[in-house]
């Protein structure tokens, strides 16, 4: 009988990514409700030393394969190792992050494990011993409650949504060797081009400052960069700004761009089309600065200033600088 709440951890360069702690904390909560264990799988090279950290977030047992074959991440190597473990231990629930890696891996595992998954969930719970996952659909215009009628019941969790909860626990570390050879890797990573602007990726940023059509041109983003600098934020853009060629596609927040869920989202000169709201609607605090009082963005905002952003933003930068320094 399937038992246990399992997570696939995510690390880069030997450091856990925040989503891992969100996954671990969520697994702990559900494992307690079910009276089962929370277990983790850690794959990588030179990462054995960090396995113990997972105890701080409630993980009972970590399966670790510390081998060069797992670095950098490939779908083939990771999936092969995970499929082995999952088939052997038959967890009831399996969580991954809805990150780039997690999305690539989780959907592949659905095929290999012949099960079902709820993607990019914003809430998970246990009902009658089974997983129920709540997830946005139609770009957040509605939410669906998903039940999985196969094992493991899989869900990928939207980064930055689930709380990180500390819990002092001694983690049992179990080393394993999945015996995967280079001939089993079909795809090869030829090159990793790091984007080194020193900023967090939009999907991982705690604060996002975004500009839309109201920015009027690419040169005006400097005032947003200044505000972002003070806040340690990452700058995003609406589809209108990207389509106009003012900002790169990687900066787009929305239904056909990135989904972000920061603690603070500051929308400047963004009208708030549904397509944009889809990408930032689960942000914890939303600020809108727009001179049009009827702009739809104000319906989503916690705080709004109806005025000229070219005057408000520099002033806000000044005030925040004074406040936090």
């Amino acid at each position: 009988m399937a038992k246990g709440v399992w997570i696939i951890t995510e690390q880069r360069y030997g450091t856990f990514r925040k989503i891992t702690f969100e996954l671990a904390s969520t697994a702990r909560k559900l494992a307690d409700e079910l009276g089962e264990d929370a277990c983790a799988i850690l794959l990588g090279s030179g990462i054995e030393g960090i396995a113990g950290e997972l105890g701080k977030y409630g993980v009972d047992k970590v399966y670790v394969a510390d081998q060069p074959i797992f670095d950098p991440y490939t779908t083939d190597a990771h999936a092969a190792a995970i499929v082995q473990l999952v088939k052997e231990h038959e967890p009831s629930i399996l969580f991954l992050g809805a990150s780039s890696q997690g999305k690539d891996l989780s959907a592949h595992l659905v095929g290999r494990l012949e099960t079902g998954m709820a993607t990019d969930c914003t809430h998970v719970k246990v009902v009658d011993g089974r997983l129920r996952a709540i997830r946005p659909m139609y770009a957040g215009k509605c939410f669906g409650e998903v039940a999985i009628n196969a094992f493991p019941q899989m869900a990928s969790l939207r980064p930055n949504v689930f709380p990180v909860v500390k819990s002092a626990r001694e983690t049992v570390i179990v080393k394993f060797d999945p015996g995967i050879g280079p001939d089993q890797l079909k795809t090869r990573i030829l090159e990793v081009r790091k984007i080194t602007n020193g900023k967090a990726d939009l999907t991982e940023a705690n604060i996002v400052v975004s500009g839309g059509r109201g920015m009027k041109g690419p040169e005006n983003y400097a005032i947003l960069e200044d505000l972002a600098e003070i806040l340690g934020a990452t700058v995003g853009a609406s589809r209108a700004a990207v389509d106009a060629g003012w900002r790169p596609e990687a900066d787009q927040v929305g239904q056909t761009g990135k989904v972000v869920s920061p603690n603070l989202y500051i929308a400047c000169g963004i009208s708030g089309a549904t397509q944009h709201l889809a990408g930032m609607g689960t942000s914890k605090c939303i600020v809108a600065i727009n001179k049009d009082p009827d702009a739809q963005i104000f319906t989503a905002a916690d705080y709004g200033i109806v005025d000229d952003l070219f005057k408000v933003v520099p002033e806000l930068t000044k005030e925040i600088k004074a406040l936090i320094s």
């Binding site: 779908t75 669906g144 998903v146 600020v287 009082p293």
Partner: protein, 256 residues
């Protein structure tokens, strides 16, 4: 090159989504249906590949009766033929079942590369391409912004958090298309005329030999939680408003 592009018909991004009162799904009337934008990048890339290397582009789509218009659009863009999985048993099925049906079709045709959108903008599930790769037992490269064929291999650029990866995969493989891959063409009038005579083969579950095996079920839908109404910050001048906002962010929202 034998190229397959999988497409899905979805409500366009501006559509108002209304839920059926019993929570069983959305009200379909009044919605403008379009080809999923990410699938369109896949179709465009398939056509460019064919134009460069020769071969044939086959559209494979699973959907209800209305989906034929999205298939006709893809044919009008320049695809050669289509296989249309149309059977009421597939209405509203999950990603696993969808991929199972697509795989049953793709297994029967010569195929060097399969394009899918990286996700469909209706259920936002983003699973079908990767499940399809697993079921066909061929490699996957997901969320591609650049694809080049070199002999029996492709090189794909895939953006991830804080980096861009250059990935090589042998053919055949599944590639899921992301925004930035290309700028899809519009169907021309002659293209639309020609599409009328292009072959569309219709298949049902029995013809595919697949049995129903749905793993994930949406057991209810609900509207988004309404956010409490926000505060519009008033003040005599911009400096006052900015100061008030900074204070609220610090003391009330505690986010800075």
């Amino acid at each position: 090159m034998n190229i397959v592009a999988c497409i899905k018909q979805v409500p366009n991004t501006d559509s108002t989504i209304r839920l059926k009162p019993d929570g069983s799904g959305i009200v379909e009337t009044g919605i403008e249906w379009v080809m999923n934008p990410y699938d369109e990048f896949g179709v465009e890339e398939a056509l460019r590949m064919k134009e460069k290397l020769g071969g044939e582009v086959t559209i494979v789509s699973l959907g209800p009766a209305r989906a034929i218009t999205a298939i006709r659009t893809a044919l009008a863009m320049g695809a050669d033929r289509a296989i249309y999985i149309n059977d009421p048993v597939f209405d509203g099925v999950d990603a696993y079942m969808t991929a199972t049906a697509l795989a049953a079709v793709i297994k029967t045709i010569p195929c060097d590369i399969v394009f899918c959108g990286q996700r469909a903008i209706d259920d936002d599930s983003g699973q079908v391409g990767a499940i399809l790769a697993a079921l066909l037992d061929i490699p996957q490269v997901t969320v591609a912004t650049k694809v080049d064929v070199e002999g029996n291999f492709i090189k794909v650029v895939r953006p991830v958090e804080g980096a861009e990866l250059l990935i090589e995969s042998p053919l055949p493989c599944v590639v899921t298309a992301h925004k930035g891959l290309n700028e899809p063409r519009f169907a021309s009038l002659p293209g639309i005329m020609k599409a009328r005579n292009k072959p569309v083969e219709v298949k049902d579950a029995a013809m595919l030999g697949v049995s129903m095996d749905v793993k994930a079920e949406v057991i209810g839908t609900m509207p988004p939680l309404a956010r409490p109404p926000g505060k519009i910050i008033s003040g005599d001048d911009i400096a006052t408003k900015a100061k008030e906002l900074a204070k609220l962010l610090r003391e009330e929202a505690k986010v800075i």
